[in-house]
Amino acid sequence: MSTSPGWLVAAMVPLLCLLPVLWFVVRGEPRNRLVAQNLAQLLTGFVLLLTAQGFGRSTYLDLALVLAILAPAGTLVYARFLGGLPPAPLVRWTAVVGVPATVLPLCVVSGAGRETVKLLFIGAVLLAGAWVTSSGSQPSSEPEPDGTDGPSGSEPSSGERAAKRD
């Protein structure tokens, strides 16, 4: 195996982008946190693709594959329980620009073969997942209309319990 530093330097770019995204996950507005989490998954996917090439280990691509599949599932499940997913142009553009910019050079380097097919497949799944999750979804329509989230937090029955607390 041979590491190629160029790809690892390239991997540093999405990795460093994760730091500001973390700030939004932690301190952003409630609705933006889920979007930031979605963006973090996308950026992590880029780092995984680039480092697989950088470390010269094609087997590391499995990680990017699993991430590409689990990421939209996770985001959509959270969206359902946390009350909807707002449209996110930032995620969409990051995916539309970033996926080809990452996958195509990797395909050129690895040449025709099984690895290229895998790379293109991972890229397609990442792009499709980001495209759908960035177009937003309806607010939660779970069986329970009075959700845990949202500003309307006061219900009549809570009165006596809150009084007992102090």
Binding site: M1, F55, G56, R57, S58, T59, Y60, R161, R165
Partner: protein, 114 residues
Amino acid sequence: MTLLPYLVAGWIFLVGLYGLVTSRNLIHAVGCLAVTQSSTYVLLLAIGYRDGGTAPVFADIPTDARVVDPVVQALTLTDVVVGATVTALLLALVIQLHKRHGTVDPDELSELKG
């Protein structure tokens, strides 16, 4: 760089414990426990790292390649799975506690039982 990974593991351990001690919500406490557990992963893998080594998976590399320690990786793998199941069991306990006592605040719970 020789100490940084170990210090980070120690920091995660202590910060997770701080969260556990000061937690006012048992669900938050379970999350803090998950953080504390992750310090062990960092420590174990840091000990097993070898400069310039690669993963001990010989499907696409020669068998005399320079590899990192597989023993700690197997230990960590076990650790991750057991950590997840412990989290699941604790969360089930929290739900059950809440059904019985109507609160997830550890202080209120200790007032109930004395």
